[in-house]
Symmetry: C3
Subunit: 112 residues, 3 copies
C-alpha cells in the first residue's frame, strides 16, 4: 500500500476530492497546514507597503491506496490541478506497512 | 521502529490515550482532521431536510514505538474501540528510519 | 529522499525555520498538534491548586529532503534547539518513495 500526501491551495480541495472519488480511493484525511515551497514565500503589497509572506495556508489531503492505483491518481492530479503557476502543490508518496479497520479487525488491502 | 497512525471519532480520544499509556507507548502527537472512509460520508436529517455530510471530524493520534509493540497495541485498540458500527476508525502502520531526542542527541530506540 | 518530522515547542518554530533555510531545505509543512513525550505531561500549579497537564501544544514541522542532507539538518537542530530541559522535542525520520511537483509533473529529487 501507498500513502499519497497531496498539498494544494485551499481552493483546490474540492477538485482533489473529486479526482480521488473518480479514482475510487477509499478514504481521506484532510488537514490545514501552513507551508512554503521553492519560492520560500513571496512579496505582497498591502496598503502601499511591500511585505514578505513566508508561510501560506495550504490543505493537506492524505489517502492510503493499493500500490497500483498511485500512478493513475498522481497523473490525474498533475493534469487537472496544474495551472502552470508557482505554488500548484506537491505530492509525496510513502510506503504503508499495514492498514487495519477497527470495526472488523481486517488487515492489509482488505482494510482499505 | 514503527509509527501507528490511529484515526478515530473525537469521543474515542481518551480511550485511545488510555490504551497507549497501558501499553507504555512513550509519546503521542494528536491532531484534528476531517475525513471520510468507505461510506464516503452519509446522509443526515436537519430540520426536516436531508443533506449529505461528506467530511466528518476525526482525531488522528500518532505514536512511534518499537516494532515489537505494534501488534499488542493494534489488537487492544481493535478489541476495545470496536463498536461494530461503521466509522469506528482506522490504523495505518509506517516504518520509521530513525528517532532523535533533541535534548540529548540520542538516536534510535533509545530516543523513544 | 527522507522526511524529517520535527516536533518542538511553538516558541522554537522560528529557530527551526531558520536552520532549515540555512541548510537549504526546499519546503516545509507546519501544523499545530497536542502531544506528550516521556514525561507524559507534568504537574502545574494554578491558583494554589496542583493539576495534571497531560497534553501540551507543540508545533510539527515536516520537510522532505535528499537523503544526504538529513544528518546535517538533524545535527544542527540538536545543537541549536537543545536547552538541556525536558520537552526540547523530537525528530522522526521516514523514507519517501517519490515526490511530484504538480506544476511541472517532475518526479523524484528534481521535484524537491
Ligand atoms: N520539500 C518540501 N518539503 C515539505 N513540504 C514541501 C516541500 N515542497 C513543497 N512543500 C509543501 O507543498 C506546498 C506547495 O508547494 P509548491 O507548490 O510551492 O512547491 P514548489 O516545489 O515550490 O513548486 P513550484 O515551483 O511549482 O511552486 C508548500 O507550501 C509546502 O507546504
Ligand atoms: N483509505 C484511507 N486513506 C486515508 N484515510 C482513511 C482511509 N480510510 C479511512 N480513513 C480515515 O479514517 C477515518 C475513519 O474511517 P472509517 O472508520 O469510516 O473507515 P472505513 O474503512 O470506512 O471502515 P468502516 O466500514 O468500519 O466505516 C476516515 O474519516 C478517514 O479520515
Ligand atoms: N514516541 C513518540 N511518539 C510520538 N510522538 C512523540 C513521541 N515522543 C515524543 N513525541 C512528540 O514530541 C513532543 C516532544 O517530546 P519530548 O521533547 O518531551 O520528548 P521526550 O522523549 O519526552 O524527551 P525529553 O525527555 O527530553 O522530554 C511530544 O509532545 C510529542 O508530541
Ligand atoms: Mg512554490
Ligand atoms: Mg467508514
Ligand atoms: Mg518529554
Amino acid at each position: 500500500m501507498r500513502k499519497l500526501e497531496i498539498i494544494v491551495k485551499p481552493e483546490k480541495l474540492e477538485a482533489v476530492k473529486e479526482i480521488l472519488e473518480e479514482c475510487e480511493a477509499n478514504g481521506v484525511m484532510i488537514s490545514n497546514i501552513m507551508g512554503y515551497g521553492n519560492q520560500k514565500g513571496y512579496t505582497k503589497m498591502y496598503r502601499g507597503t511591500k511585505y514578505n509572506v513566508n508561510l501560506l495556508p495550504k490543505v493537506k489531503v492524505e489517502t492510503v491506496i493499493p500500490k497500483e492505483m498511485a500512478k493513475t491518481i498522481i497523473d490525474k492530479i498533475v493534469s487537472e490541478i496544474n495551472t502552470g503557476n508557482y505554488g500548484d502543490g506537491k505530492i509525496f508518496v510513502y510506503d504503508v506497512e499495514d492498514a487495519v479497520r477497527i470495526r472488523t479487525g481486517e488487515h492489509g488491502q482488505e482494510a482499505l
